[in-house]
């Protein structure tokens, strides 16, 4: 079974600073996908960024980028030029590429990191 661990329950930075959220995972799969989701107080989970394990290049989406270290099973999220609207819970998630009919499609989430951006 896969597990995802986020070791930082809470983080707080000043607006415009850069912040990095940590995530490690455990799996015996070779092909998989990793995701970072943002959950503001409205409860809506919003996809921030995704990474395919077979790609060596780290994914980037505007101010968001990841540092994917496959051998270390590490997948951190870097937010540059942080904004007040980035305040939210952030969840790291794992999904196997394919494992037959059962089991592959579900997302496995970490416990989350509560990020606060201060003015």
């Amino acid at each position: 079974a896969q597990t995802v661990t986020q070791s930082q329950p809470e983080m707080s930075v000043q607006e415009a600073e850069t912040v990095t959220l940590s995530c490690t995972y455990d799996t015996s799969e070779n092909n998989y996908y990793l995701f970072w989701y943002k959950q503001p107080p409205s409860r809506q989970m919003i996809l921030v960024i995704r990474q395919e394990a077979y790609k060596q290049q780290n994914a980037t989406e505007n101010r968001f980028s990841v540092n994917f270290q496959k051998a270390a099973k590490s997948f951190s999220l870097k937010i540059s030029d942080s904004q007040l609207g980035d305040t939210a819970m952030y969840f790291c998630a794992f999904r196997a590429a394919w494992g037959g009919i059962q089991g592959a499609q579900k997302l496995v989430f970490g416990q989350g990191t509560r990020l606060t951006i201060n003015p």
């Binding site: 409860r43 989970m45 009919i101 579900k106 989430f109």
Partner: protein, 115 residues
């Protein structure tokens, strides 16, 4: 276009009662998922539908929980004889297909409180 919608937004019920939670996926999405999120935790998988059939229900905690998707679109999560431990946010997600790379789009969730 319209995203995933869930009704009701909030539900308060008494211990022992029956509740139904509804999910309307994005139009054309064949895959639908239910997750449960307890306070301060990440979402946990409950059940996955591909079309009308439940392809994976390994996350349902016990036989009080049941879900259907009779026409391959709207899904209903049903909880019988509710217990206080069932209190959580129930999230629904849909994706275009079942592949591992398909993005799952989430609804706003239903917050269930069992008194």
């Amino acid at each position: 276009g319209a995203g995933v919608s869930q009704t009701p937004s909030n539900k308060v019920t008494e211990k022992g009662k029956y509740v139904e939670l509804r999910c309307d996926p994005i139009s054309g999405h064949t895959a639908l998922y239910w997750y449960r999120q307890s306070l301060g935790q990440g979402p946990e998988f409950l059940i996955y539908f591909q079309g009308t059939g439940a392809a994976d229900d390994s996350g349902l905690p016990n036989d009080r929980f049941f879900a259907v998707r009779p026409e391959g679109s709207v899904s209903t999560l049903k909880i019988q004889r509710t217990e206080r431990g069932d209190s959580a946010v129930y999230l629904c997600a849909s994706s275009l297909g079942p592949g591992g790379g398909e993005t799952q789009y989430f609804g706003p969730g239903t917050r269930l409180l069992v008194l």
